[in-house]
Amino acid sequence: MKYVILLDCKKFRWPAVSLLVIIEVFGKTVHALSRFGDDIYLEPLEKGLALKTVNSSRSAFAYVLFSPAFFIKYQSRSPGDGLASGDDEEESFRCRITAKSCLRIFKSPTNLEKNVDRCLISLDAQECRLIFQLNCRHGITKTFSLTYQETETLQAVFAKELSPNHIIADSRALGIVSTSFKPQQEEVTMTVNPTELSFRNYVEDEAEPGRVTHSELKLPPQEFSEYRIGVDTEVTFCLKEFKAILSLSDTVRLPLNIRFETTGKPIVFSFESEGSLEGTFVLATLADIGASQSSQQTQPSTSHRNISGRSHTTKPSASSATTGRKRSSKNADREGQGERSRPIKEDVEFPDETGWHPHGPQEKGNNDQPPRTSAGSPVFPVNSFTDKLRLPPQDMSAPQDISTPQGNGVKEAVSEVNSTFLANFMGDADQEAEEHRLRTSPIRDKGSGAESDDDDFDFVPNTPPSKKFKSMFFGSTQSQAAGSSRDVEENAAELSKSRVLAVDSDDDDD
């Protein structure tokens, strides 16, 4: 037996909060993590037992750390371990087990509380089994000997300290969000300004605006113990994972810290009980790709018309001057709601007038982020998207500062536009060479990301093109119809390379 962790299930006086039952908390954590991803990564560290998970599209990451004080006995390494093989002392055991098998063990946390007296988690290295032994009442013992897979550590790269927006909420205040939307609702948009916080259900393709239900929930800042908004913004993230986070923070009865910046940047939820438990959840937020795309696709005048039209039909409560911020208005952020990426549009629109319709996505560096999966969960840009814009290969795993100035993005986008322009005038052969050059850098980056599945958390660009992409293409003007479908195909093909530079089809049109 190597690592030994003993969980006591007797009622335990939680510091600062009322009575809580340990194993119930552990069980509920397992439940919450299983709502994120299919596998739970276990890592016994010096500072505690870490449970992590990431969802299949790598757009949500959950991490809960149970410090040794949480357990009766916590031994994260066996005596005499670590130095024998000359390994780095920090080398610790990491494994991953399926969430399903974990759920079987902690099936009903409330029942567990009643029936289980003690839980022992240990590792049998010889047999390669992770053993959960539950001592239940009446002397009955249940032992679950699970197979596991050794894995690399799972890390999400994000910088939560630098977020301009910070909210601290009681789970009660946000609890109402869980019940306010339809169960099938996939994403929710949270809009913040210094005077109010609102949650809206996120509606994707507003083909029939009249038929879609829109729900909005507004909360006054007084509901929160801290409400600091540096940048008025709106962020869209997956509701299912958000509900899991809320239910877990409710179980542990700790206030939830929410740190975020703006659209496209990850939103970080965390709670902490000094010395016992700490949880961090990072959700990717939907990058507002659609807005800029449609503006490029259509003529400026029509685009405005469409947008305004749409705003009216879908947002009856568009009383405030927040039209610019509305999701439906694809050009929302254009109105300068602190979306630093927007300036790019100016440059991007130029090709429109020349009769050449760019594949909108290319100009926006955001395309380098893996598009949303068909499940609709937003993509988690591990590194700032400006990285992707850089043509020369970048080290993808280098942690990026979220506050990298967007100015770079602008320059890069322009150069991209130029290159595609250039492509227009180049012969096929040259064009291919050019494209290949432009393509190689991202490939290398993406390749590294794709292979190291268990490596430092990188996004995997092998996700299918997002619905948003497709709808954006097909929803564009008629003149583009033929081109669009081809574009999409090309996009689909090249998405793995992520830099969508497919210009070929348009050459035929010119």
Binding site: R104, R129, G139, T141, K142, T143, F144, S145
Partner: protein, 284 residues
């Protein structure tokens, strides 16, 4: 011509008449042996009472005993009557007035059988409403005789059903077999499954207050097909006590003590042949 004389005349044609004030006393017991892959049951009527047998795959046999004392009236003309019947249909008819186990007016039952080739007649009455069912009977097949006699019993454990119910309900269904270990030494009683994600053991020590009697002479480990033995959890959930016995061949006998609404005790029994991949089972 009173109704009663009329009835007496009619009744004379039946070889079996059983009357029961509370049909639930019968339906609960039969539910314990019923499962969707065991539809045909063999009914034996003798002077002791009714025995209903269901078999699966020639390795599991479930028997429900309804002794004559359970019935308010039990009249048998011939000895050793047997027939086969579709248990699903029988259960549906018995529960025709709803299967809610809540108290209150319970339907009364009158069961009549006219002999070989005739259908089984059920008359159910609740608050003046009468339902009349006639279910075709089938040719009775030979039932297995597991030849399980108490003399050969090696290990015997009697315990309260509730703890076993949880264990059975949580059994990992991805496992093909359920392994039961009974031993005079630790771990005394262990239920193991070997599923996709790993192995699960449930240990029941003999000192546990759930165990009423523990008589084990030798350590025995036997495996039984999980999919076949899992339905026995139904019997577990309605019973108060269960007795587990294994004989020298590894055959398992599970006996469930079920107390009905009138306080009478009925028994349901499961016989399970061990899962031996190498050799064939040998029934006498």
């Amino acid at each position: 011509m009173t109704l009663s004389t009329q009835q007496r005349d009619q009744d004379s044609q039946y070889v079996l008449i059983a009357k029961l004030d509370n049909v639930r006393n019968v339906s609960t017991i039969l539910k314990a042996i019923h499962s969707k892959d065991r539809e045909i049951a063999t009914v034996f009527a003798s002077e002791n009472g009714l025995k209903v047998t269901v078999e699966t795959a020639k390795c599991i046999q479930a028997n429900a005993f309804l002794q004559s004392e359970v019935f308010q009236e039990y009249r048998l003309k011939e000895n050793n009557i047997s027939f086969q019947i579709n248990l699903t249909i029988l259960m549906e008819c018995l529960n025709i007035f709803g299967s809610n186990t809540a108290g209150g007016a319970a339907p009364a039952l009158k069961m009549c059988y006219g002999g070989y080739g005739t259908p089984l007649m059920l008359l159910l009455e609740e608050l003046g409403v009468v339902t009349d069912c006639s279910i075709k009977t089938l040719e009775p097949d030979e039932t297995l005789d597991f030849n399980f006699c108490s003399a050969n019993v090696v290990n015997k454990i009697i315990m309260k059903s509730e703890c076993l119910t949880d264990a059975f309900q949580e059994l990992d269904m991805t496992s093909e077999v359920l392994e039961i270990l009974m031993s005079p030494d630790k771990p005394y009683l262990r239920l193991s499954t070997f599923g996709h994600c790993g192995t699960t053991f449930s240990d029941f020590p003999k000192e546990s207050d759930m165990v009423e009697s523990f008589q084990c002479t030798t350590t025995q480990t036997n495996r039984y097909k999980l999919s076949l033995i899992k339905p026995s959890v139904k019997a577990l959930s309605v019973s108060s006590k269960v007795s587990m016995r294994t004989d020298h061949r590894g055959f398992l006998s599970l006996q469930y003590m079920i107390r009905n609404e009138d306080g009478q005790v009925c028994f349901v029994e499961y016989y399970c042949a061990p899962d031996e991949e190498a050799e064939d089972e040998d029934y006498d």
